[in-house]
Symmetry: C2
Subunit: 351 residues, 2 copies
DNA sequence: TTGTACGCGTTATCAC
DNA sequence: GTGATAACGCGTACAA
């Protein structure tokens, strides 16, 4: 095994650089640079090029991209900021992003914020220090200091999953409005009338749009929800969902159905219902949103709305590439379709 | 909104650098460097230090860490290589790693390999080009060309979840042997005799140790498994688990229990059993490994072995820090305890 | 305590 | 087509 001792300031022992390849091939190192960089000015004779390439390969030359970044001011790295990678919605987005950007030579720097704005600001500043070429922001608030910061720092930003109020940043989001409308229509069509909702914070476009999807459809049908049928979670997690549902069930008769802002919250709600002695879906219906893995296997299988997360990631990456280019197009918001997925957690009361 | 147009070679417009805050504070930029870098040689008068700090803050100075890396040959970035971030075992590990390394100023570069060795080698080479200070490898094979490559490149490597045969790299792994032994003992104690197993590839320490855990206990009890009760998956995924279980159920009477190499595989197995008209756990018992989120909610709740993934991440990060230091300790393998979690997917045949 | 000077490995822009 | 050379922004040994 080779020694991995490295002195504080010395380069990695034996790291071969352009100059090494140059002396070994008997040409100037700028020539080597040109050979190894497809698309550099000034053509090279095929003979020299071939020779240099051979030498480089033999010496195991690996370009030092830090030095290149120093010169070009582009690191070919992009940040991805999420609340918590353990939330199953994020990994597929990362996969989609990588699918598009890895072949282009980009690397992805992941930053978890743990739902903490201060941490998030710190993450952005560090990414700025690292000269990331762009940032994917999955935590976007309707009014977002992080977005402003990125604009100040002049870092290309693409929102994923959520969008700002002013829509001044490119974004790829799910059609939360349409998705929740479809779901709510189904809930009504199946005869539920006493409906409760567990909502996300209304400073998030997802939170607000999903709530609008619900209330729009209720309004269309001449319904409004009483105060005590509406509760909020601070984060969309299982624990918060459970707590929220407990509140809903605390006083009086339980509702016929609870529409939850997402799957994790819905799972918490199912737990709370069960703890309260209610059978889902016989006594109460539950729905989620996202169709995360395994919710088709839980008891009962969860009715939800599916979004194509990988596609969101891919599209966000395309948008990023366009936005990083010198002639960046105007910001636009891309909506990816949602699809209603009916499962046993919500039953047809008419049936 | 500020313009994000940037010319090919010019620095980000208006990016303030060391020299800028130097002229603004009326000192030389080397002084600024010393002020802003805690722990640099040569002390600075408090007055000057305070002044410089104030100016830096006012100008919104952000150190250019690329330039710093160029000088120090350390990027304060580390790679994390996984097969697929969508596998729920990885995110908690990332969280644990970040918990320890973010406060130290490190950034994490995530690389998905998609189970492809060529891709993986490419990822390593790119990370090397980026001068990562270290790599966490979650894909470690018993004999691993990736590990060798990192040794050649002189990149500190810490294995997570798995270990090489020769144990020549620091590693943090779960006690797969003990965990699977405990599980198998329980299976036997509950009266199962006709047992089947779905195993992972035997070129992985996890695959091999878990199988050894099973077979050790069976041997202790004078049992061996017939050929047709042993099947393998290529990757530990739901789909492969389902396929493998279908093979097991294809001919003859089903076994009393299937011990699966991990939870995803177990979930696939449950699907296959159900498709074959078998009730789990009445007709057949199923067990997994990992205790990933939601397996306590599926139908039936999955008996499994829990490992503390976040702790594995944290420990790996500590090991990495130690290993990156100039006086690196000898490689050692840390084992994190496993804990048996009994749920309804496996029942007591004696009861 | 502070200023000087050099180099890290590349890329880009000159000459030739 | 190729060589020479000047940046890029910072860290630090050394001089003052």
């Amino acid at each position: 095994m080779s020694s991995s001792k490295r002195s504080k300031t010395a380069p990695r022992a034996g790291r071969v650089k352009l100059a090494d390849v140059a002396t070994a091939s008997g040409v100037h190192y700028s020539t080597v640079s040109r050979v190894l960089r497809p698309g550099s000015k000034g053509r090279i004779s095929d003979a020299v090029a071939e020779h240099v390439r051979a030498v480089a390969r033999e010496l195991g030359y690996q370009p030092n991209s830090v030095a290149a970044s120093m010169r070009t001011n582009s690191t070919y790295s992009i940040g991805l900021i999420v609340h918590d990678m353990s939330d199953p919605v994020y990994p597929p987005i990362l996969t989609g992003i990588e699918e598009v950007l890895s072949p282009q030579g980009f690397a992805v720097l992941v930053g978890n914020t743990g739902y903490d704005l201060a941490v998030e600001m710190d993450v952005v500043n560090r990414m700025a220090s690292r000269l990331v070429d762009g940032i994917f922001l999955a935590t976007t608030r309707l009014e977002d200091p992080i977005v402003e910061r990125c604009q100040d720092l002049d870092i290309p930003l693409v929102s994923v999953l959520r969008q700002t109020q002013s829509r001044d940043t490119p974004a790829v989001i799910n059609d939360c409005l349409g998705g929740m409308q479809a779901l709510t229509r189904q809930v009504l069509a199946w005869g539920h009338r006493d409906i409760a909702v567990i909502l996300a914070p209304q400073n998030l476009s997802t939170g607000r749009e999903r709530w609008r999807g619900i209330s729009d459809v209720l309004s269309e049908n001449g319904m409004t929800l009483p105060e005590h049928r509406i509760v909020h979670v601070e984060h969309m997690s299982v624990d918060e969902g459970e707590r929220a549902a407990r509140t809903l069930l605390a006083d009086g008769a339980p509702p016929e159905a609870i529409i939850c802002v997402n799957d994790l919250v819905a799972i918490g709600a199912i737990r709370a219902c069960r703890a309260a002695g209610l059978n889902v879906p016989r006594d109460i219906g539950i729905s989620g949103y996202n169709d995360i893995p395994l919710v088709d296997m839980i008891d009962p299988p969860l009715t939800t709305v599916r979004m194509n997360l990988k596609e969101i990631g891919r599209t966000a990456a395309e948008l990023m590439l366009a936005h990083m280019a010198p002639d960046a197009p105007p910001s636009r918001t891309v909506r990816i379709d949602a699809e209603l997925v009916l499962r046993a957690s919500l039953r047809n009361l008419n049936g």
